[in-house]
């Protein structure tokens, strides 16, 4: 199996406070990984470092993506190389329609692959196909990016963008937060439909319930800047049953 993302002993700090204290994680093609952990454990910091947002200063370790040092690439290069971040809080961009936004993004990706920009006709066709796939309201694409979207619409819109850009590695940061059960199913369905043998997904979540719909191959528990436990999908269930206190006690040696 081909290695997609290889994180080795990654350390990062925000203003001298160490947030990530040596993370090691291997993600191969075709795998779905879930990273779980309580608030403040470093989940979002890890996701943003892979995407290229410099929230924290990297103080040690490495991230290799498809054999390349990820730190050599700026955020848009990482995107074009196939890394997609589903935002925990999708950003509103008033005045810029989803159609224009996606056209700009998609054509950058195509340019990177040496392809011509899509014609208006082909673009709209693709837009329709992907809209159906993720069951997004067709009117949303005529509105400004995330502006005035409900919480659920914003999250669905992230999955829709993922469908349009067909990433190799998708990192979904708390995509389930703030979703009712119907929206949760739609989001999970979208992710499952987009799963292929040659891509990989990292699902970051606080709760187990998303993992009823997206079945992970591996579950990692992040606590206080470290991956303290890894296992199969049953680890998520155990965690749900016993709560994060269980992990806390294990780590603290109680």
């Amino acid at each position: 199996m081909k290695s997609m993302l290889s994180i080795k002993d990654l350390r990062a700090s925000i203003e001298d406070k160490e947030i990530l204290k040596g993370i090691t994680l291997e993600v191969n093609e075709g795998e779905v990984h879930a990273i779980m952990g309580p608030n403040g454990s470093g989940k979002s910091t890890l996701a943003s470092l892979v995407a290229g947002k410099e929230l924290a200063d990297v103080t040690g370790g490495s991230i290799t993506y498809l054999g390349k040092n990820l730190f050599d690439l700026n955020p848009e290069e990482r995107s074009k190389a196939g890394i997609f971040l589903g935002f925990q809080y999708p950003i509103e961009i008033p005045g810029v329609t989803m159609v224009n936004f996606l056209k700009a993004a998609l054509n950058e990706h195509r340019k990177h692959k040496g392809l011509e920009p899509l014609s208006a006709k082909d673009f709209l066709k693709l837009l329709r196909e992907k809209k159906d796939l993720v069951e997004i309201d067709s009117k949303l694409t005529n509105r400004s990016v995330n502006a005035g979207f409900s919480g659920g619409e914003k999250k669905k819109n992230e999955i829709f963008q993922m469908a349009m850009l067909e990433p190799k590695l998708a990192i979904l940061d708390e995509t389930d937060s703030g979703l009712d059960i119907d929206a949760l199913k739609i989001v999970a369905n979208g992710v499952n439909k987009l799963k292929r043998k040659d891509n990989a997904t990292i699902v970051i979540t606080h709760y187990q319930r998303l993992l009823d719909y997206i079945i992970p191959d591996y579950v990692h528990v992040l606590f206080d800047g470290r991956i303290v436990k890894s296992g199969g999908k049953e680890l998520a269930l155990e965690l749900e049953k016993k709560g994060y206190e269980w992990i806390k006690n294990q780590v603290n040696g109680n």
């Binding site: 410099e54 961009i93 329609t97 936004f101 993004a105 950058e108």
Partner: protein, 482 residues
Amino acid sequence: MKKEQDKILSEVTGTDYKYGFYTEIDTDTFPPGLNEDVVRAISAKKNEPEFMLEFRLKAYRHWLKMKMPDWAHLKIPEINFQDISYYSAPKSQKGPESLDDVDPELKKTFDKLGISLDEQKRLTGVAVDAVIDSVSVKTTFQETLAEHGIIFCSMSEAIMEHPDLIKKYMGSVVPYTDNYFASLNSAIFSDGSFCYLPKGVKAPMELSTYFRINAANTGQFERTLIIAEEGSYVSYLEGCTAPMRDENQLHAAVVEIIVEKDAYVKYSTVQNWYPGDMNGKGGIFNFVTKRGICRGERSKISWTQVETGSAITWKYPSCILKGNNSVGEFNSVAVTNNYQQADTGTKMIHIGKNTKSTIISKGISAGFSNNSYRGLVKVVKNAENARNFSQCDSLLLGDKCGAHTFPYIEVDNANSIVEHEATTSKIGEDQIFYCNQRGISTEDAIGLIVNGYAKEVLNKLPMEFAVEAQKLLQISLEGSVG
């Protein structure tokens, strides 16, 4: 991160202005200085009739008694009017006769600016009056327009060929006593464009004036006069550029528009004078008086401007809505970056009954710049059922720039409705990162966001101009957010 920002900033700001070249041409240039003899000399150079010289002298004498205005939200360095040359003309130019008479260097200059003076080469059917420094070098499509009875020529030619129209209309909307820069312009204006549309004639193509400052140490002082008789229509475009120089140069123009019953004049500007370098050195001081009068019933004036250039912009294209049911519009996008300053807006004067005006102003500030909207909506006592809607939005990039709004509302009629809306927003790093994460570079993200923000106004521009303006907005703001 900070270093990266500074790097991007310095890389792009130095090379942005692609119109900054200078053309080596033989010129006939007056020595610097301003006095009555200079005013007389300009008039003599152009073989003007006596009435024109009198108009100029009255204006000059009035100007001497005036003081530079200081009410705008601008820091204007002292301008020494004796250091400026008030007339500079390409030497070989004898008058706008045929294209063969135009100096090849000049033709090349305009080709480089994307303005072809060769009618055969023009695919888009836009008639151009090309003004370089103090004179009009060529007006295209004059014959085609003349077949429709439309007069489109340089101001110098109009003064010679159509003195009655000039006598009747020049100074009728912007009198020579109007303000400091209008008075100065009235005294020493050297050329400009003239357009007359007879009754019922709709211009078959768009008309345009392209202003180019080329010579050093000169100012450009031109006048434009548009007269639209009953039921006529014209869409008029104006573009401006200048070479990059360390010294500031002065541009003080006057535009007057007269619109009769059921006529409509749409006036669009893309102002891209050299804005100065990233440290605020050099650039054009742009002091312009633009005003139109809707004289007849149901007449309409629409001003659309995209202001990206100039070190200082002082400009308030206005409408006097005299005819009943007449309509005035002002749509503006003003961008300031680095150390640019802009104080721009409009005046809508409602005099007739059921008059309507709309103001849409979109300010974009970046760098260390200051961008002000200043607008007056005035409704006189008898202007029954007058309506105004104003929307003034400001967009900030970074935290070292300023956006200001100065709306003035004077309403003396109880049946009128005046609405004013204002918003201020900021392009955030989060928005940029969101775009980056989808593969869109920072520069393109700013372009996307700014064009989305200014869309309402850009949509009002004629097609060809709109594309140009979109690119220009993006270029003007390159490197302003890291």
